[in-house]
């Protein structure tokens, strides 16, 4: 039997004969690798996943023209300058006369986009009018069309008949307003859109960057964040990230310590193996190498299993909590593997130093 054969045999037999011992060591390494992979995978995607949840606030950037109305060209430029996921809704406002000599704020907009912008927050009645052209705020509906009858709004000499189909409640100023398609609105009032409501769904720093790009590229427009929402998003995302990071750090460190303790203890329990090998003439180097190779083999298997399990946990957390999977991060595999190997080597060779100080004969006699 060659030296290499013997070495391999020792390595595999040690694991095979004491399957339970190898298994406990494998489990402890796999748990460390799983927790590290899961925590880092979740952390790496957290800010973009969590930022999605802020879409319900509606527009977080407001673009207004200082003079006159926004042209189609300007709207296209805003659209092409925004490299992040976004929705642009141009709106125009005018004060018109409603029934019973009341004044009402009339809005002209892209009805479909405007509904989409507010879809997460509005409570909508009669939402089955899919292709409706008129949106009625609930207070406006109460004032003009309590029984669902059509009503007339006029602007200057012109007037138009509207039928109340979709009625929404938002709890904001919009409840007192009536929205029409932009074309009809402009035909009635002669006013074009002056404001574009922009909902950008992205990480806080990407939204800041987008605002900066818009302001420098379009100096004739005023670009403002809705600070109330963007600031909250920044703090909430930032703090959640910190909590996840610190908690993951705590979990991984503690589980690592737990694993090192298990590993060290199981090496110390093998002092008889150690003594027999030494008594048969193995050098310190050879014994060290054997123990290290065992640890490396276990670490390799444990890290691979842990990486798969950890990625699966992160995937599932994404699915269950954000309704979108958090995908495995391939770059993580190498650090997880190297980390596990390093830990296992440290935990298994450090106790050998202790044993080397003792005479093998003493151990074999049971001292």
């Amino acid at each position: 039997m060659s030296r290499h054969h013997l070495f391999l045999r020792l390595l595999l037999k040690a694991a095979w004969v004491r399957k339970d011992r190898a298994l406990t060591a494998l489990v402890s390494i796999a748990v460390v690798a799983t927790m590290a992979t899961a925590a880092l995978t979740v952390y790496s995607d957290l800010d973009s996943k969590l930022s999605q949840e802020f879409r319900g606030f509606g527009a977080n950037i407001v673009v207004t023209k200082k003079q006159g109305s926004l042209t189609a060209d300007e709207l296209t430029r805003i659209d092409s300058l925004l490299k992040i996921r976004h929705l642009i809704v141009p709106v125009a406002y005018a004060i018109a006369n409603g029934p019973y000599e009341t004044r009402v704020v009339l809005g002209g907009t892209d009805i479909k986009a405007f509904r989409e912008l507010n879809s997460a927050s509005w409570a909508v009645r009669n939402s089955d009018y899919a292709d409706t052209q008129v949106l009625l705020g609930s207070r406006a509906a109460n004032a003009f069309a309590n029984h669902g009858d059509p009503f007339t709004v006029s602007y200057g000499a012109r007037e138009t008949n509207l039928s109340p189909e979709i009625i929404f409640t938002s709890g904001t100023d919009d409840d007192s307003r009536v929205y029409l398609p932009l074309k009809e609105f402009t035909a009635l009032t002669g006013v074009g859109p002056n404001t574009a409501l922009v909902r950008a769904i992205a990480r806080p720093q990407e939204i800041q960057a987008a605002i900066a790009t818009l302001s420098t590229s379009l100096p004739e427009l005023e670009v403002k964040p809705v600070r109330q929402f963007t600031e909250t998003q920044t703090t909430v995302v930032g703090k959640t990230r910190s909590v996840v990071l610190v908690a993951s750090g705590v979990i991984v460190t503690l589980i690592m310590l737990c694993m090192i303790a298990t590993f060290t203890s199981s090496v110390l329990e093998r002092r008889k193996d150690f003594a027999v090998m030494k008594a048969l003439g193995a050098s310190n180097k050879a014994v060290n190498f054997l123990f290290a190779a065992e640890a490396a083999m276990l670490a390799l298997a444990g890290a691979a299993a842990g990486y798969i399990a950890g990625s699966a946990i992160a995937f599932w957390i994404g699915k269950a909590n954000f309704e979108a999977a958090i995908l495995p991060q391939p770059w993580l595999f190498v650090p997880v593997l190297l980390g596990s190997m390093l830990l296992a080597l440290l935990a298994s060779t450090a106790p050998l130093r202790l044993l080397q100080r003792i005479q093998p004969a003493g151990i074999l006699r049971g001292e």
Binding site: F54, Y93, A247
Partner: protein, 428 residues
């Protein structure tokens, strides 16, 4: 004899026992810290989300339509109805009064301001900045400084005057855009309706207030000649994210369900309770804020819950592996005991008692360490500590016992399966 065996086992095998103890304590401190953080994060994030402002708005029922355009209110204050400011403390008396963490009343109208002989039309908004409000024996401080936290003031915030101050002009804030176009800087005096005001600071909100003058409510009531009147109250309430049950109409529920709905802090049930004490008011959720806050809150809490579950699973496996490892190495002891005539039951009870004692000690230590970690996470990230509920101690000790028993039971059984003679010869 049993106790002697137990005692000597701890005395002579200090290293083995300390490894097991360490593993249990580490696992349990992870569990404690994560449970505490997952339980506390809802409150903490809820506090952070309050910076989006009020989530409920109260307006008078018989009010006419608002005519607000670009932050300018075109409805004269003579039109429409008002709420009585003196009724507002009643909000604290509702069932969920403690969840009402802030309120800011508003009264506004167009006014003509003059400075150095020039005049400009702008909105005059009256509100509370940091007003002390009394309800019964309780008093609390509230106003835009705590409700609308995104308002930034350059200069000083005004105080909330109860009366028009005798000898000086009362302090007000000027909106940043108004200040720019009308050349107002902190310390300047402006006049409205023949009354002098002193601008103590410039306010930047990113909203309509940037083009307005924001003054203490009682000062605006005097200027407009409407004592005790407010037009709108923004209320910041801690709510439970709305679910299908929270959306249901309370008038169509059975009495038992209605009680359950009433006693849950949904935005709708808090709105319902406010309407009970202010019958002339319409109370509405500010839906973009309330709905999204709920969404974000459940998302963050859900994330922490899932991470906690993963961490618990990890620590259970780690502790079990450690316990199994320490016991598997003791098969010679088992062989010796059995060859001396010990029954399986007595061997198992000795090992499990050892495990139980270790679990108790490790559980208590882990609970204390985990509590300290949770406090550290709370203070370092949220600036306020996360406390661990004492009930968690019972849970942790139970978990520690369960985990160590599960971890050791398998290993003890395995060790007992071997023939003692084989084990003692060292052939196993």
């Amino acid at each position: 004899m049993f106790f002697r065996l137990l005692f000597e086992s701890f005395r002579r095998q200090k290293r083995r026992k300390s490894v097991a103890f360490l593993a249990i304590a580490l696992g349990m401190s992870i569990a404690t810290a994560m449970i505490a953080v997952a339980a506390g994060i809802g409150d903490k994030i809820s506090q952070e989300l309050r910076s989006t402002g009020a989530n409920l708005v109260i307006t008078p029922i018989e009010d006419t339509l608002d005519v607000n355009l670009g932050g300018i209110n075109l409805k004269p204050a003579s039109e429409g109805a008002f709420l009585a400011e003196s009724e507002l403390p009643k909000l604290k008396g509702i069932f969920w009064g403690h969840n009402i963490v802030g309120l800011a009343p508003f009264l506004s109208d167009r006014a003509t301001f003059t400075k150095d002989g020039k005049s400009i039309d702008a909105e005059l908004i009256g509100t509370y900045f940091e007003q002390s409000v009394r309800y019964g024996k309780e008093s609390f401080t509230t106003g835009v400084r705590s409700v609308n936290r995104w308002w930034q003031v350059e200069g000083a915030w005004p105080q909330d005057y109860a009366e028009w101050p005798a000898n000086t002009a009362p302090d007000v804030l000027a909106g940043s855009k108004l200040a720019q176009s009308f050349h107002i800087s902190p310390g300047d005096q402006i006049e409205v309706a023949g009354k002098k005001l002193r601008v103590s600071g410039i306010v930047n909100t990113g909203g309509a207030e940037d083009q307005a003058v924001v003054a203490p409510l009682h000062i605006v009531q005097q200027i407009l000649g409407r004592p005790n009147a407010v037009q709108r109250v923004a209320v910041s309430a801690l709510t439970k994210p709305e679910d299908a049950f929270g959306r249901r109409d309370p008038n169509k529920m059975t009495p038992v369900m209605r009680d359950r709905w009433y006693c849950s802090p949904y935005a709708n049930s808090i709105a319902f309770q406010i309407h009970e004490v202010l019958p002339n008011a319409r109370v509405e959720q500010i839906r973009p804020i309330e709905q999204s806050q709920g969404k974000v809150l459940s998302s963050v809490s859900g994330l922490m819950l899932l991470l906690t579950l993963a961490a618990l699973l990890g620590s259970v496996l780690a502790v079990s592996a450690a316990m199994a490892a320490t016991i598997l190495e003791r098969r010679q002891e088992v062989g010796l005991m059995k060859s001396l005539g010990a029954s399986n039951v007595s061997v198992a009870s000795l090992f499990l008692t050892e495990a139980g004692l270790l679990a108790l000690a490790g559980g208590v230590t882990g609970f204390m360490a985990g509590g300290a970690l949770a406090r550290y996470i709370g203070t370092s990230i949220f600036g306020s500590s996360i406390t661990v509920h004492p009930v968690v101690l019972a849970l942790i000790i139970f978990a520690a016992l369960a985990v160590t028993f599960v971890g050791s039971a398998g290993a003890v059984r395995k060790a007992m399966q071997f023939d003692p003679a084989v084990v003692l010869r060292g052939d196993a």
